[in-house]
Amino acid sequence: MAAAQPRTVRGRAAIYLLAIGFAAFSGFPFLWAALTMVRQDSDLYVTTHNPFVLAKPPTLGHVTDLLRNTPYLQFILNNIVIGLATVVITLALSLPAAYALARLSGRWGEKVGIAIFLTYLVPPTLLFLPLSRLITVIGLQDSIWSLVVVYPGFTIPLSTWLLMGFLRSIPRDIEEQAQVDGYSRLEAVVRTVFPLALPGIFTVVVFTFTLTMQDFIYALAFISSSSSMTVSVGVPTVLIRGDVFYWQSLMASAIIVAIPVALLYNVFLGRFIRGFTLGAVKG
């Protein structure tokens, strides 16, 4: 559906009002976090004045405190390593599967495809108990690699679905032309389909990476040492020491992660939407 252009003044006013309303609803907590992040201590624990005005000049001291004096950067590093490793495993497994589903599916092939997507619906809150036991048995407890092993369990179904959509949009002609032109089927796919699927693959990489950052329960269940923690787990557990809450640093820890990821998604949103629709439309 083409972007609607509300034609009446009332229509446009309604759009703007609603847009502002939703923006405020979604963004307010982050505004509050950002304000808090730069507040001096003496300005923070005060209830008398308008909390939206900074009575004392803003400071980045808490942010630097977070970065220098806490394991926060270690958490982020862990997330990056886990994310990249998961992406590699996910792509290696879901790309061929997506190709098979896009091009080679017979009737039962489609059923397997649906089964793959259904695994996404099996909740981590159900699997984490047996998995935590399995992780211990393998000897990966308290290691970031336990997460690398487990995360593809939910990234593979989603990646396969998205990639299938992208691959379907590449015309079959091109592969067959390459076969006639002298390549075996495998060579034809590698030389023609993959280069054309790169934008889709890149989108899936971004999506998968950010998905690994979202997990809370597995990281919480498998990892106890702060040096191996991810941001999701580390921030609420380590940075909250007993009853003492270093709120400014906590807010900073959230903002530092939230903004770039949201920016990334905003940039890729068009592609994601296209990926969803392609994946949903039967080829």
Binding site: P171, D173, I174, E176, Q177, A178, Q179, V180, D181, G182, Y183, S184, R185, E187, T192, P195, L196
Partner: protein
């Protein structure tokens, strides 16, 4: 030696027989057209010859050798798809060079070959462009250059003109025919457009429901159709068919003229033509009506060239004639041709 041969070729998809026992031999260097409505099996037949589909039964031979179980790359064929399937991420040069890379030709030998193919199609200037920057006609030429560069035994073309707009189509058709005659490579060409088929083919194979209905030159197909399917599929407007005396009688619209324009000739069949509609298309007049005396149910069309100026009006009942030699008789049950009229046949 036939360049391409199929023997009892059959292809089943589930419960449908897409290609149902086809025997075909091409002559060397000929332009053979596979003509038929959508779903008749012509594209499947082409793909079987190319090796993109595996037959359920039968054999494909290319250059005298059985290739039925060989993959496309081993058959020394070149194919042009309806969409041209140009590699969008490569330049025109790289597109044309692609098949050469596959054969393992050393990199330094490729540019010469690419330029040779490009010059035979007049696209030397386009080598650095990308497919999206080319017009429809240019894309066709690139696809042909890519097909030519391997010097295959046979060209397989799958409706390459259907994606071009009408105006471009006739000049592209021209170029294609001229190119093929210059290069002399056996070509098998699939289309549903009978005008294209008649214009391009040295021989036409008319297909329907997976079977070859008739193979012949355009003249043979048009003037001596083997059955009612061929008779009505080829020719626009289609041949008029009447039931008369338990037989099917057929004649073409342009053979159906006012008696006053033709004059009396021996062997003519005269009809009482009740006119219901007249379309003046400039170069021709189409006169629609029926023949109350012979087959009141049949809708009959007459195609009068503008050189025939006899006035004809809606509501008229005018005597129209068909020369005896133009009459064709078909079996009412099977549709096959039973007799061709002769000039001296009495009506």
């Amino acid at each position: 030696m036939a360049v391409v041969e199929t023997k009892s070729l059959r292809k089943e998809f589930g419960h449908t027989m897409a290609v149902d026992g086809i025997d075909l031999q091409t002559d060397e260097g000929e332009y053979l057209v596979l003509l038929g409505p959508s779903g008749c099996g012509k594209t499947t037949l082409l793909r079987l010859i190319a090796g993109l589909e595996h037959p359920s039964h039968g054999d494909v031979l290319i250059g005298g050798q059985v290739v039925t179980h060989l993959p496309p790359r081993a058959r020394q064929i070149a194919m042009v798809f309806q969409s041209y399937a140009l590699y969008p991420h490569k330049t025109v040069f790289a597109n044309i060079a692609f098949p050469l890379a596959a054969t393992g030709m050393p990199r330094d030998q490729r540019p010469a070959k690419v330029r040779w193919a490009a010059s035979r199609l007049g696209i030397d200037g386009l080598l650095d462009r990308r497919p999206r920057q080319l017009s429809g006609g240019e894309r066709q030429r690139v696809a042909l250059a890519r097909a030519l560069v391997r010097e295959p035994q046979v060209f397989l073309l799958d409706e390459p003109l259907s994606n071009l707009d009408a105006k471009l189509r006739s000049s592209a058709r021209d170029e294609l025919k001229e190119f093929q005659q210059r290069v002399g490579i056996t070509t098998i060409y699939v289309t549903h457009d009978q005008v294209e088929a008649m214009g391009l083919g040295d021989r036409i194979a008319v297909l329907n429901e997976g079977k070859i209905q008739q193979i012949g030159t355009p003249d043979e197909i048009y003037h001596h159709p083997a059955n009612t399917f061929v008779a009505t599929f080829v020719g626009s407007p289609p041949m008029n068919l009447l039931t008369s005396d338990g037989k099917l009688l057929g004649f073409r619209p342009e053979q159906f003229l006012p008696a006053s324009a033709v004059g009396e000739r021996p062997g003519q069949m005269v009809f009482d033509f009740a006119v219901t509609r007249v379309e003046n298309l400039g170069s021709d007049r189409y006169v629609y009506g029926h023949l109350p005396g012979v087959d009141p149910e049949a809708k009959v069309i007459a195609k009068l060239p503008s050189t025939v100026t006899t006035p004809v009006y809606v509501g008229d009942r005018v005597p129209f004639v068909v020369s005896g030699g133009d009459l064709r008789y078909f079996n009412q049950q099977t549709g096959t041709l039973t007799a061709a009229g002769e000039a001296e046949v009495k009506p």
